[in-house]
Each structure stands twice: as structure tokens, then as C-alpha cells.
């Protein structure tokens, strides 16, 4: 089993599959993957003539110690958490939702469509709480609809969900461009390639300086873990993810499951869009660099993978990644680091995740080679 042994003198090195990984190993490999990625990233800093220690000090102190940085880290990790769930739920059913950017855009557009249609300046203004609730519902529904397209096609025709979600990403990217940049209804008054700014009464309420979406994100984590650990519905999703044929045999409806996970995942991505564009203090619009936020959604993919499908496990990971991606941008300016460290980190994390995946499934065995088989002796026949 495993790959052929690598022979070194009288010793050989093989990878042997593990039957059951030891307890706690999952956490260990997750931590190892993150640490290894950070270690590899220091090579990037060195190549740019920056000291890794100084770079990490700058990144971490801005992201987690500086009050402004910490607030931004929290806001961003909420965004990443919703993206994580959006990827995680379909993944538990064995499906790949890489439509995070598109679903985030759909959620953002829908959230802004509500005030566009309903909001009037006072007097005659509708109750802000109602409009905010509608914005959230619209964002979730739009995300779910974008995800649902992939879900329906997967459920009904077995269309590859990776391709469909990716096509939707490109489509929605250009739709947003049209809406906010070139004559679309969401254009801001200054026409600088941004959407209009959300009226002040419609900004998401803050609890201790943090938008209420934080509570929603944490609550969702607990509910998702409960769903997959205990609920019959979660069991069906897991069974379908492990073996569609066995799940079908056991009475799980494959079409309903595929559709449901994409609706649910898309709704989370829609909420991520709402949070990112309508709830973070100081933003309250769809900015010109919305594509950057869409790409950040892929951090959600990697945190779901590293957390191995546990939503609560993804909370600290998303927090860390939120801080890292933010701090890296800060350090770029402060230490004149090269552009794109946050992207590079994404790639390195993916690489070390796959490495940890291998370590989880295989054991590296280093041992002496068995002595050559002796010439067999032709013995008498064994008695019958």
C-alpha cells in the first residue's frame, strides 16, 4: 500500500496509510499546517529584504493589538466566517461551492436593492429596523438563489457544481461592474465606480462597537456543529457526502440534499455580502475594489478545509486569517513589503493544508530493509 518505498542504503522510507488517525491528531495537523504556511511566508519576506520577525511583529501587532486594526480584524473575520460556512455546508455533502465571490456579490447587491426601492428620506421614511431586516433577508435570499442555481443543476442533471459556480462568479462579477460602474442603478452620486452610500439610519446596529452580525456568525457556528453532530438532517448530508450511493440506498434524497446544501451555503455567502458591504463601520457601500473582497472569500474555503468541516473549529482559524490578511496589507505599506502577501499566504495555506492532509492519512515509516529471502528448502508434503 502507499507509494513504493524509497530505498536509502539498508533503510527504506515509505508512506503507509493510517487506519484510524490518533485522537487530537486533527487539531495537531491543522495547527501544523498554519504554522508551516507562516514559516514559508517568511521566505517571501526574506526575498523582499525584510526581516520576517519585523514583518510578523508588524502584522500581528496591527491586526490584534492596535485598536483600529483589531476592530477591522473582527469585522473581516465575521465576513470570512460566513464565507467559511458557505463553503463548509456543501462540502459536508461532498460538493464544492467555489461560488463564494459570486454569492457574496449577489448578497451585497440584493441588500442595497432594498433601500434603493424602499427608502425615502424622512418624513415618510419606513421604520429602519424593518428595512434592515428586509436587507438581511434579501441578501440571504439572493445568495441562496445564486447557490441554488448550482444546487438545482447538480440535483436535477448532475451538472458539475465546480464549473457552474465558477461561471456564476464571472457572471456576477461583471453584473456588479455594470451596476456600480457604468450606468447601473446602484451607482453612487460621484460616479467613481462605487455604489451609493447606505443612508445612516440603515447602517447595521453596533453592539460594543461590533455589528450584530458577529452574534449571528457565532450562533451559526454552534448551530452548524449541532446540525452535523446530532441532527437527522445533518446525518443525511454527511452520509450523502461520504457515499452518495449508500445514502440513496438508505433513503436519503440526493436531489433534495444537493439543492439544500447549496441553498444554505449560498444564503451564508449572501449574509457575508450583507455584512461586508452594509454592516462594517466606515464602509457602507459596494466599493470599487469589490473584487478583492470576493477573492478574500477563498479564505473561507481554506478555513473550512483546515477546520475539517467543523464550524466552531473554524472560528479561531477565520479570526487568525482575518487578522493575517489585514495585517499583511498594513505591513505592505508600513514596511514596504511586496504587494500580494495576503494572496500568497492563501496559496501557501492551501499547500500546507494538502501536506497536512497527507500526514493525516499516511504515516511516514523509516525502517531497516528486510534481509533477502533465503533460498527455500523443498520439504516433504504436509500431511493431509
Amino acid at each position: 500500500m502507499g507509494c513504493g518505498p524509497v530505498r536509502l542504503g539498508r533503510h527504506e522510507l515509505t508512506l503507509e496509510p493510517r487506519q484510524a488517525p490518533p485522537a487530537g491528531y486533527t487539531v495537531l495537523t491543522a495547527v501544523a499546517a498554519i504554522v508551516a504556511a507562516l514559516a514559508l511566508a517568511s521566505v517571501l519576506f526574506l526575498s523582499a529584504d525584510a526581516s520576517p520577525a519585523a514583518a510578523y511583529r508588524a502584522i500581528f501587532s496591527y491586526a490584534f493589538l492596535n485598536p483600529h486594526g483589531l476592530a477591522a480584524t473582527v469585522h473581516r473575520s465575521i465576513y470570512l466566517l460566513f464565507c467559511t460556512y458557505a463553503f463548509l455546508v456543501p462540502l459536508r455533502a461532498g460538493l464544492w461551492n467555489i461560488g463564494l465571490p459570486g454569492q457574496v456579490y449577489a448578497g451585497g447587491l440584493a441588500a442595497f436593492a432594498v433601500p434603493l426601492l424602499l427608502w425615502r428620506e424622512p418624513p415618510g421614511a419606513p421604520a429602519p429596523a424593518v428595512v434592515i431586516a428586509l436587507m438581511i433577508a434579501a441578501a440571504a435570499a439572493a445568495g441562496a438563489a445564486a447557490g441554488g442555481i448550482a444546487g438545482v443543476l447538480r440535483a436535477r442533471f448532475q451538472v458539475n457544481e465546480i464549473l457552474v459556480t465558477m461561471m456564476l462568479n464571472s457572471i456576477l462579477f461583471w453584473v456588479v461592474a455594470y451596476m456600480v460602474k457604468e450606468g447601473g442603478p446602484f451607482m453612487g452620486a460621484t460616479a467613481e465606480g462605487e455604489s451609493f452610500t447606505l443612508p445612516a439610519p440603515l447602517r447595521a446596529p453596533l453592539w460594543w462597537g461590533v455589528p450584530f452580525t458577529a452574534a449571528a456568525a457565532l450562533g451559526a457556528a454552534a448551530l452548524l456543529d449541532l446540525l452535523f453532530a446530532r441532527a437527522a438532517l445533518g446525518y443525511r448530508i454527511r452520509a450523502f457526502g461520504e457515499s452518495p450511493a449508500a445514502a440513496r440506498y438508505g433513503g436519503v434524497n440526493p436531489a433534495a440534499t444537493s439543492l439544500l446544501v447549496f441553498l444554505l451555503g449560498g444564503a451564508f455567502a449572501g449574509l457575508a455580502g450583507y455584512h461586508n458591504f452594509a454592516a462594517i463601520p466606515g464602509v457602507y457601500k459596494i466599493p470599487g475594489n469589490y473584487g478583492y473582497y470576493g477573492d478574500l472569500g477563498f479564505y473561507g474555503m481554506i478555513s473550512a478545509l483546515i477546520a475539517r468541516g467543523s464550524a466552531l473549529g473554524a472560528v479561531p482559524i477565520a479570526f487568525l486569517f482575518g487578522g493575517l490578511s489585514l495585517g499583511a496589507r498594513f505591513a505592505q505599506g508600513a514596511l514596504r513589503l511586496p504587494f500580494g502577501v495576503d494572496y500568497a499566504l492563501l496559496g501557501l495555506l492551501m499547500m500546507t493544508f494538502i501536506g497536512s492532509h497527507v500526514l493525516q492519512a499516511f504515516r511516514v515509516v523509516w525502517r531497516r530493509r528486510a534481509a533477502a529471502a533465503p533460498e527455500a528448502v523443498v520439504g516433504g508434503l504436509p500431511g493431509a
Binding site: 464549473l163 461561471m167 453584473v175 460602474k181 504587494f339 500580494g340 500568497a344 501557501l348 497527507v358 492519512a361
Partner: protein, 291 residues
Amino acid sequence: MWELAVRSLEVSAILLLAALGELVGQRSGVLNVGLEGLMLFGGTVAFIATQATGNFPLGFAAALAVGALLGCAHGFFSITLRGDQVVSGMGLWILSFGLTTFLGSPYAGPLGLGRIESPAGLPPFFVLGVLLVAAAWFLLYRTGPGLAIRSVGENPAAAEAAGIPVAAIRYLCVVAGGVLAALAGAAYTLSYNPVWNYNFIMGWGFVSLALVFFSMWNPWILLAGASLFGLMWQLSLSPELVLPGILSRYVWRTLPFAITIPILVVISTPWFRTRWGLAKPEALGQPYAKG
């Protein structure tokens, strides 16, 4: 109009090269959904090498080397370790997306060298692509190694029993696929649009992947699909040639992607699959354990 045709063939060539490599890989049973990443990496490395040296051949060589390397990585995970091919492919894509953004951003901007000369006004990579399509068809259907590749993708156990080295064949095909995808990326950044931009490939890798499914694993149909798509892409960039001033140029940009989805639906229907789609390699995506 001639200009449009040439440009659209240039687009077709890029899609075709990447998809052809993927087709050969899939024929051997290995799915690589990270095509987009390989194209990004190939294009970025080629751009950097060419800009640093002013030498086009060197740029292409660098792309080919990086494509082979990434192909090997995908092979190691999916063939040797028998890991999930989707995990590995997705990993390659995100890895490439992240690293190329970092590596390329100091070089962002135009290449600043002359265009690659094209003989007889034909886009050189399209000519190369057509030649490679013919070669791939001949290889797959008219040679012993081609029969071996198809057998490995259909039933690796049968191939192994007939003395075919399954893992070696799959490695070769996957590496060839990586090389072609990287070449496609290089054709983008050195010839089609010699301006480096982060994530310049913008979903073309996934379109190429869709083209492979659409082609029913036949190189000639792949050529037709890539040609059509190239035309559609180029039209979406200059819609005024067909329908002046009707919709925003951004809305036109969605068209190639929006058309891909119904095509994917049609080729996935039971009707289509039982009638035409039996060509799908039976062992596609499945790791093979010897013995």
C-alpha cells in the same frame, strides 16, 4: 472583421491548448480541476522570465518547466498517494492564484516587447493547437501507447493485467497536461494580452475544463468548441461590432460564461449521456490501487 477573427482564434488557441492537455490527462483517468491555476502560473512565470531577459523562448521554457513541475505535484498527490483529485486540483488553483499574485505584482503592467511575429497572419498558437489536436487524435486512436492511455482511463486493472504501467502512463499524461496548460498561460501573457495583471486568466481555465466535458473527450470536437468559444469571447469584448449600443459592455462580458451553463446542462442530461456521452472515461477521477 479579419482582426476580430484573428483575435478570436488567439483566444481559442489558449483555451484549446489548456483543454487538450486536460483531455489527455482525463483520458488516462486523472481529473485536474486546477487548470486555471496552472495557466496562471505558466503565464506569470513566462511573463517574468521574458521581461527579465527580453527573450521569448526563455519565457516559454520557464512556463513549460513550471507546468511540468505542477503536473508532477498533482500526479504525486492523486496517483502516488491516491488522494482526492478534486482536493489536489483545487489546491493547485488556490496555490497558484495566491503565489502568482505575489510573484507577479512587482512586474504588473505591459511586457514592453514587440509582438510575436505570426506567419501568414495566422495566430501561431492556433496553428500549433490544430497540429497538436491532430497529433493527440493520432496518438489516442492510432497508436499502441494511445490504446494504453485510453485503457488506463477506462479500466486500470485491465491495463495493469495486460502489463501496462498504469502509474507511469498517468504521470506522463498529467505532466503533459500541466505543460500544455502552462503553455496556454504563457500564450496569454506573452502573445494575446502581454500585460500582467493579477488573476489575468479570469476563469478561462474553468471554461477549458468545461470544453473538455463538452468535447466528449474527442480532440476534434474540442477544436470546434474552443473555436466557437473564442469567437464568442472576442465578440463579448467588442459587442458594438454586432449590436451597437444595446447593452453595457459589462453585461456583454457575462455572455460567454452565461452560455456555458446551459451547454453544461445539455451535456449532463440522461438523454445526451446515453446517446453520446458513453465516451466518458470510466475510471475518471478514481485513484487506482495496484493489484
